[in-house]
Each structure stands twice: as C-alpha cells, then as structure tokens.
C-alpha cells in the first residue's frame, strides 16, 4: 500500500468490526447445524475486500461535516455486504472459478457437494447455493444500512439515494450482460456501461450517500461533486480494472492471468483496441478474445495487440485526465479540509491500485 491508502487504512478497523458485529447479531438464526456452511461462506467472503465503497461513503459523510462516529462506520460497512453480494452473483453469471485468490462461492459449494457425494449435479447445487448466499448478503446490506444507529432523519433523507443505487446496480449489470452478448461494443457503448455499472455504483453513489447523510439534504453542490469527482473517479477506477484484468499480476489481483481475455469481456480497453488496431492486430483480437481455451501464448499475443495498438497507453492517459478533472472539482467543493485531503488520496488509490 502506498501512503495514499491512508484514508482506507483509517476506516478498515471500524468497517471490519461492524461487519463482524452484524454477522454476530444474525448468528442466533443459524442454530440449525445445516446452516453452518452458509454462514461460514458469508464470513469467509466478508473477510476479504478493499473496503473502497465504505471509504467513499465515510469520507463523503466527513466532507459534509459528519464526525468520526461508530454508527457511520456501520452504515458505510453495509456497502461491503452489497458489494460481496454483487461479486458472488457476478461470478455465477460469468462462471468464474476464482475470486480473491480463493475458489468463487459457487465453486466452494460445488466442491462441498462433490466431497460429500450428494445427489444431483454438484455444479447446479453450487450455483443455487451461491445465488442464495448473494441474496442473503443483499438483504443483510439493507438491514445493516437501516440499523446502523445513525439518526432516523439522516437515513430517511438518504434512503431515496440508496434505493436508486440498488435499482441502478441491477440495471447496470443487465446492460453489461447485454453488451457482452451483443459483442459489438463501440468505445461509446463500453463507456456508457462502465459508467452505469461501475462508475456510479463504485464511487458516485457511496459518496453521495455519505454527503446526503451528513447534510440532510441533496444540495446542488453535492450533485456537482458527485458527478464531477464521483463519476470521473468511478470511470477511472473501471479503466484501472480493465487494465489489471489484462496486465495485472495474478499474485496481486487474486485472479488468474488472462481471465478477462478468456471470458471475452467487452471493456473500454478492448473497445479502444478495436478502434485503434491495425488489420493484423484486429484479427488477433477477433480470433483469440473470448476463447475459453486460450493458453499463455495466446494471452501474450492478445496483450501485445492491446499494447501495440496504443490502447493501453490511451487508457492510462484517460485515467490521468479523469483523475485530474476529479481533483480539480474536489478543490472547488465547499467541504471539510481533512475530508478533501482524504478524498484526493482515495481517488489516487482507487485509480493507481495494483489489486
């Protein structure tokens, strides 16, 4: 971690503790021994994660004048439950085997079925159990958010933002599914999906939640900061994700090298490659991208095409530009100074991360 990760480090203990306390409150409902495997899967999954969304939410709250209160750690931590739910369902939809260096949730349940020698398809059992685990974390996220201990007026003011975020998340993921299926992503359509799916949900809306919770209102300056800082950091965050998905070190990302390429993900990076590629480079992408049996040599050939087309450098340039825009907007916002510094560091951490 670089020095810029400090705003993340600062809230991690509070977020981790809130998550443990919430799960402990649920434990009495899991007395049936058959439910132990569901609860332990939830706990193991929640132990990982960068806590990035809680950090944007918490520092939004501080930015609008909120204090360092345990209730806010809890409200912010609820976003980590939502993110866990989304990742578990994502992995089912993408048939991904690995998450954070461990078997994905559906593979974990599949293995449990296979090792016990149960009836029926282990794969189908794994998928079903993972869908239910994701559902459980989704409903817990809403419960944790509402029972954080923040004043009811604060929650009531921010609830429409929260509701909208959830609808937007599901719609964004649906748009992403469509984009992958239609397979004709242009640069513009890839950007639109990235904004809808990841930009808004990863940065803008968590930030907005924190700001509205503390301000008890949806001020004009809040909206401006959420769009000009939040959306810009969100898209840069997604661009970093695209680059890590192709060029990242598996030891750091916790995902096998080239997984995004094998899966054929239609990212901004790929759209840019196709827009810039020579005929030979375009042919390499067309013939190899999305091949589930892609080997190390194929991964290298695709990486070379992306690099040599100039797309990787162009995406790095975009990240830099979005980050600059975001930091400029941050400078102009009427917010707490400690939070301003923290949000600047967070923007850098979110867009220069290696995991």
């Amino acid at each position: 971690m670089t020095a810029s990760a400090a705003p993340l480090d600062l809230i991690r203990p509070g977020v981790d503790r809130s998550l443990r306390e919430f799960v402990d409150r649920q434990r009495p409902f899991f007395t049936d021994p058959h439910l132990a495997s569901l609860l332990s899967a939830a706990e193991d999954f929640l132990a990982g994660g960068k806590r990035l969304r809680p950090a944007f939410c918490y520092w939004g709250w501080r930015a609008a004048g909120g204090g360092d209160e345990p209730a806010m750690h809890t409200a912010a931590a609820s976003l980590e439950l939502l993110q866990a739910s989304a990742l578990i369902h994502d992995d089912v939809m993408d048939a991904s085997d690995v998450r954070r260096g461990m078997p994905s949730a559906h593979r974990r349940f599949e293995r449990m079925h296979a090792e016990a020698g149960w009836h029926g398809s282990a794969e189908q059992f794994g998928e079903g159990a993972a869908v239910l685990l994701g559902n459980l974390l989704l409903v817990w996220s809403g419960e944790m958010w509402r029972t954080s201990g923040l004043p009811p007026e604060a929650i009531a003011t921010a609830q429409p933002v929260h509701d909208h975020m959830l609808t937007e998340l599901m719609c964004g993921q649906y748009l992403d599914l469509l984009e992958q299926a239609q397979g004709q992503s242009t640069f513009d359509s890839a950007l639109r999906v990235a904004l809808f799916k990841s930009g808004k949900y990863s940065v803008e809306q968590p930030l907005r939640l924190g700001l509205v919770l503390a301000a008890r209102a949806q001020h004009h300056w809040i909206d401006r900061l959420c769009v000009q800082y939040g959306q810009q950091v969100g898209i840069a965050f997604q661009l970093r994700d695209d680059i890590l998905g192709v060029f990242g070190d598996p030891a750091e990302t916790g995902k096998p090298a080239g997984d995004d390429l094998r899966e054929g993900k239609r990212t901004i990076l790929i759209a840019r490659t196709l827009a810039e590629a020579s005929p030979a480079q375009a042919e390499t992408v067309r013939s190899l991208l999305g091949d589930p049996r892609l080997d190390a040599e194929g991964v290298e050939r695709l990486r070379a095409a992306i690099e040599d087309s100039g797309a990787r450098a162009a995406c790095e340039e975009m990240i830099k530009r979005y980050l600059d825009n975001a930091l400029r907007a941050l400078e102009q916002a009427p917010i707490d100074e400690t939070a301003r510094t923290a949000l600047a560091s967070l923007a850098v951490a979110a867009t220069s991360r290696r995991t």
Copy 2:
C-alpha cells in the same frame, strides 16, 4: 374460484394497482432502450400470481384493528414482489422451464438471446438475466414496503419482523437445496424444511407483519396466533403444493404434469410415501423419482405408488388436521370479527386450492 376466495378477490384490485403504480414510478430509470426487455419481463411476471401473501398480510392488519387503507394495500403488495423474486430464482436453481403456463424468466431471456443470434451461451445469458431480474424485484420489494405511505412508526415497529422474514426465506431455501441434494429426507426433516421454507414465509410472517403494523407491538396473542394459525396453515399450504405437484391438472397449475417427480423433489408427500411404502412401491420410487426423462407412463407408475401407499390420503388427513387446529386458534384470538371470517376463508382457500 370458490366462495371462500372472497378475501382474496377483495384485495386483488388494490394489490394490482399498487404494483402497477410502483413500476410506473421506476419507469423513468428505464429510459435506456436496452433496459426495456428487463422492465417488460418484470411487468409480465407481476401480472400473474395468487396474491396470497399480500392477503394474509392485509387481513392481519385488519385483524388487529387496521382500516381498509390504500397504504396497506401497497405494503401488502410488496410481498408479491418478494414472491416473484423468489420464484424467478427458484426456477433458475431448479432449471424449470415453465411457470404459470409461460416460459420461466431464464428461458424467456434465453430465447431472446437465441432469436437475436447473440454471442456466447444463450443459456448462460438467460440465467444471468434472470438472477438480475430476481435481484431487482427483491430490492424493489424492500423499497415498496418502506414507501407504502403507512406511518413511519408502524413500519419501524414491523421492520425487525420484515428483516427476519428475509433472512429466514434465504435460509429456508438453502435448507431445501441441501435436503434435495442429501436425498435422505425423513418425514421429520421434510416437515422441518417445509415449515422453514414455505410455512413461515408464505403465511406466518406475512400475517405477523400485518398484525404488528396495526398493533404497533409484538403482543403475546399475536405470537400465539402466528404460530397456531399461521404455521399450521403454512404447512397445510405446502402439503397442498406437494399434492398438486404430483396430481395437479397442468391446465390449472400452469406446470407440466409430473415436473416435481422428474425433478425428484423431496417433499413431505414423498417422505410419507417412503415411510409407508411396500418394498415394491419403494423400489418404484427409488428407481423413477428424479429421472429427468420420466415419461407419462413413469409418472403414472409413481402416482400409483404414492396413492397406493396411502401417503396421499395421509397428507390429505394432515391438511384437514392442520386446518382444524388453525381455525380453532383463530376462534380464540382477540381480533376483529370481519377479519376473523376472512382469515378463516383464506385458510380454506390456501389449503384447498387447485392452482
């Protein structure tokens, strides 16, 4: 519909209208033309359904002194969104092709993919889209419940019941998955799963929500009525489901004949059959139950084994006994007389239904 369905008929217009109004409120978020297919799938799915859970919730409210208020129709209708979400996810998990006489949600999306000739697996697309549709309806259910227009104090008092219901629903479905996979269901374990998965969620908790909303407290008599009437009707409801799943008329149930048998569902009816069967009957069940290629003759042989073992009659007897217990408990509860009559009719309708 029999005369006893009147309490259902009475609330259906209000529930239907509330659902339409809620979806209309969401429509502005669906301006992207790519999202039209998601919204129309939600609308088509919500057009069907017996509205049984909203009815138990509404009549619970009336039982504890609540009036016939539009806000209560809305709060009750939110349970129909939850049920739609659960059914859509259930159909993905069970790989069911048909729901309410129409293609299940994942098959609908799968067909959309195939007809458009998109990239990748149509089946995987269908499952992913259905998981997201289920998630969308799940988060909408929470939003509709909270924004019904009922007094905030009423919602706040009932919220822990609502939260508990959601956790219980996901846990119950997980127990059901395990039970099917372990395939060693005894009569007791099948009864436990039926209570957890369906009994509580279909009758007891909707009823409790309505009672607590109106009473603004969790009185001892509410708990007694929920257990002695709610759980008993809930299990009888599930037993009726078991019988319809094997002997029901496809024209009425909207599901292909013998689907539960092909799927190998471990129901109370099956557990009872195995407990009572002659060696020859048990052999029929063991060899045919869960065979995905089971033909009409195989279905008939299984039906005969279940009938001849006496299990069907025993389940009918159980339904009658549970219903009698429920009606007796209802007689003794300190509730509104109109609601008492309605809840008695509802109990009969829920356990003698043919669809």
